[in-house]
C-alpha cells in the first residue's frame, strides 16, 4: 500500500525535451517579430494550467466538504496538482514584462483619453493589479499547502482530528477561491477588452477550471493505474468520476448559454461587441467547436452508461476536453490580442512547453508522498467501493 512513485529517467528526459521546445518556441517567437502572439500564448497557457490546478484543488475541497468516501484513495493526485500553483506564480511573473503588449489599459496616455478606462482606473491600474496578483496566489498556495500538510500528518498520526481540520480548511478555501479566482479571471482575461464586461464571465471561467481540472485528475489516475498504481481502481470509481464530468459538462453548457443568450437577446452594442468578431469573423469555426467539444460531445457520449465505466473511453473524452479548454481560452484571448486567427508553431510549441512543466511538477510532487493516504477515515470505504 505504501509504495511511493518513482520518476523514470525516460519520462524526465521527455518532459525536459518538451520544456526545451517551449523555451525555443518562445525565443523564436520574439526573434521573428511575433511578440504580441507570443505574449498572448504565454498568457493562454499560463492561465490554462493554473485553471487546471485550481480546478483540481477545488474538486479536492468539495470531496472533503461532502465527506465523500469513494474518492478517499485518490486525494493525493489533486493535492499534488496544488503544487503547480507555486510554479505558476513564477511563470505568471514573466507576463509582467509583456503587460503593455497585452493590456490596453496599462498605457497611461490611452487611459487619460478614454472616459471608460478612466472610470475603471481606480481598480484597473498596474500597482493594484500586481498587489491583487500576489494576494491571490498567496491565499491559494497557503490554503492548498495547508490541506496537503494536514493530510500528510494524518498519514502519521491517524484519527479524525485532521479529517475535520481538512474539512474546515476546505470550506475556507472554496469561499476564498470563488471570490479570488473570479477577480483573477476578470484581471487577466476580461480586462484584455477593458471596455466590455459580462457579469457571468468569471463564473464561466470558474466552471471551466472545475470541469477541466476534474478531467485532468481522472486522466492522471487512469494513467497511473495503467502503470500499475492504484490497484483498487474499479468501474464504480470510474462511474463516479464520469458522473462528475457529465454534470460539469452540463453546468459549463448552461454557463455558456447564459452568457451568450442574454447578450444576444438584449442586443446592446456595448455588449455584443464581444461576440461580433467571435461569431461573424474568422473565429466562427472556433466559436461553434467550443460548444460542441466542451458540452455537446461529452454530454451525449457520457450519457451512455458503458462509456462511464470504460477507462479508455474516458481517456478519449478527457483528451477531447484538453483540446476544448484550449479552444475556449483561445476564443477568449486571441480576438482581443492577435486579432487575425492562425495557428502557428508558437501556439503548439508554447502549449507543449507548459505541458512539460505541468507534468514534471505533478510527477515530482506525486513522488513526495505515499500515493494512497494511509489513515484517511474513509479509505476502507473507498477501496471496497463497488465490491
Amino acid at each position: 500500500m505504501d509504495n511511493k512513485l518513482q520518476i523514470g529517467s525516460k519520462f524526465k528526459m521527455a518532459m525536459f525535451a518538451l520544456i526545451a521546445v517551449g523555451v525555443i518556441t518562445v525565443i523564436a517567437g520574439f526573434l521573428t517579430g511575433e511578440a504580441t502572439r507570443t505574449w498572448a500564448n504565454l498568457l493562454l497557457n499560463n492561465y490554462y494550467f493554473l485553471a487546471v490546478a485550481l480546478g483540481a484543488t477545488f474538486w479536492l475541497a468539495i470531496q472533503a466538504i461532502t465527506q465523500s468516501g469513494w474518492s478517499a484513495a485518490f486525494v493525493r493526485v489533486p493535492q499534488a496538482m496544488g503544487n503547480y500553483l507555486i510554479v505558476s506564480f513564477f511563470l505568471f511573473l514573466i507576463l509582467f514584462l509583456g503587460i503593455h503588449n497585452l493590456y490596453h489599459w496599462t498605457h497611461h496616455d490611452a487611459v487619460l483619453q478614454d472616459a471608460i478606462l478612466l472610470h475603471k482606473a481606480p481598480y484597473l491600474n498596474l500597482p493594484f493589479f500586481a498587489i491583487r496578483y500576489v494576494i491571490f496566489f498567496a491565499l491559494w498556495i497557503f490554503l492548498t499547502q495547508r490541506i496537503k500538510k494536514l493530510s500528510l500528518k494524518e498519514d502519521q498520526l491517524g484519527g479524525t482530528v485532521f479529517f475535520e481540520k481538512i474539512e474546515f480548511t476546505s470550506k475556507v478555501y472554496i469561499f476564498v477561491l470563488a471570490i479570488s479566482f473570479s477577480l483573477f479571471s476578470i484581471d487577466w482575461l476580461m480586462s484584455l477588452d477593458a471596455h466590455w464586461y459580462s457579469t457571468i464571465y468569471a463564473v464561466k471561467k470558474f466552471v471551466m477550471a472545475f470541469y477541466h481540472g476534474t478531467a485532468i485528475v481522472l486522466a492522471i489516475i487512469i494513467i497511473l493505474n495503467k502503470l500499475g498504481q492504484f490497484p483498487m481502481l474499479n468501474k464504480t470509481h470510474l462511474g463516479d468520476f464520469s458522473r462528475w464530468l457529465f454534470v460539469l459538462s452540463m453546468i459549463w453548457g448552461y454557463m455558456w448559454l447564459s452568457q451568450y443568450l442574454l447578450i444576444w437577446y438584449a442586443n446592446i452594442p456595448e455588449e455584443t461587441v464581444y461576440y461580433v468578431p467571435r461569431i461573424m469573423g474568422e473565429y466562427k469555426n472556433y466559436f461553434y467547436s467550443e460548444l460542441i467539444i466542451n458540452w455537446l460531445f461529452p454530454f451525449l457520449f457520457l450519457m451512455w452508461n458503458r462509456v462511464g465505466k470504460n477507462a479508455n473511453a474516458l481517456l478519449f473524452v478527457i483528451f477531447v476536453l484538453i483540446v476544448g479548454q484550449w479552444v475556449e481560452l483561445y476564443m477568449s484571448i486571441m480576438p482581443n490580442t492577435i486579432e487575425s486567427h492562425s495557428i502557428t508553431y508558437v501556439e503548439i510549441g508554447t502549449f507543449l512547453g507548459f505541458a512539460g512543466v505541468f507534468a514534471l511538477v505533478i510527477a515530482w510532487s506525486l513522488t513526495k508522498a505515499p500515493l494512497v493516504p494511509r489513515n484517511h477515515p474513509y479509505l476502507q470505504e473507498s477501496i471496497e467501493d463497488g465490491h
Binding site: T236, L257, L261, Y265, N267, M303, G386
Partner: protein
C-alpha cells in the same frame, strides 16, 4: 401461480454477503427488496432495465415536439417580427429545455406506472411489510418441479447466511 422463497435479513452487509454465497452455490436469486439503495446489488443480480433508454427517447421526442410547436406558432402560423430577431430564433432553447425535461419525466413516470401495474389508490400487498422499514429480503423463485431436497437445501443456505426468517409465498 408462482411460488417464491423469501429469506429475510436484518442487515444490508449480511444480505450482500449472503447474495455472494448463494450465487456461489448456484442458486438463482430473482430479486432483492430493500428499504435503502444497496451499492452494487444491481450488478450482482444481473438485473436489466430499459427505462433510461425510454427516458432518452421521450426527451428527444419532447425536444422535437416542442420545436415543431414553436416553429409552427412563430414562423408558419403567425410570423411576427419583434426586436429585430429572426423568426426561427435562439429563444426557443429555453422553452425546449424546460419542456424536454417535463415531457421526459412525465412519460417516464407513466411508463413506470403502466409497467408496474400501479395506479393511485392501489392496495399495497407486501409479503414482508418491514422491507419498507428495516428488513431486507432475498427472493428466490421456486419452480413447481423443484424437488423437496433442493428446497430444503436453499432454506438451509438462507438460514446459514444469516436470514432471521425464511418464508414461502404464493402470488
Amino acid at each position: 401461480m408462482k411460488t417464491n422463497i423469501l429469506g429475510i435479513y436484518e442487515d444490508e452487509k449480511v444480505l450482500t454477503d449472503a447474495v455472494d454465497k448463494l450465487q456461489a452455490q448456484g442458486v438463482t436469486i430473482s430479486d432483492v427488496f430493500s428499504p435503502i439503495p444497496l451499492h452494487g446489488i444491481w450488478e450482482k443480480l444481473n438485473l436489466t432495465t430499459r427505462l433510461p433508454l425510454a427516458t432518452f427517447l421521450y426527451g428527444a421526442f419532447g425536444a422535437a415536439l416542442t420545436f415543431a410547436f414553436l416553429f409552427w406558432t412563430s414562423v408558419v402560423s403567425y410570423p411576427l417580427k419583434f426586436g429585430g430577431k429572426p423568426l426561427n430564433t435562439l429563444s426557443f432553447i429555453i422553452i425546449m429545455f424546460v419542456l424536454t425535461i417535463n415531457i421526459g419525466t412525465l412519460f417516464t413516470f407513466i411508463t413506470y406506472f403502466v409497467r408496474e401495474k400501479m395506479f393511485p389508490g392501489k392496495q399495497v400487498k407486501l409479503d414482508v411489510p418491514r422491507t419498507t422499514d428495516d428488513q431486507f429480503t432475498i427472493v428466490i423463485e421456486r419452480p413447481l418441479d423443484m424437488s423437496l431436497d433442493e428446497e430444503k437445501k436453499i432454506n438451509a443456505l438462507l438460514k446459514e447466511t444469516g436470514a432471521v426468517e425464511v418464508i414461502e409465498t404464493n402470488n
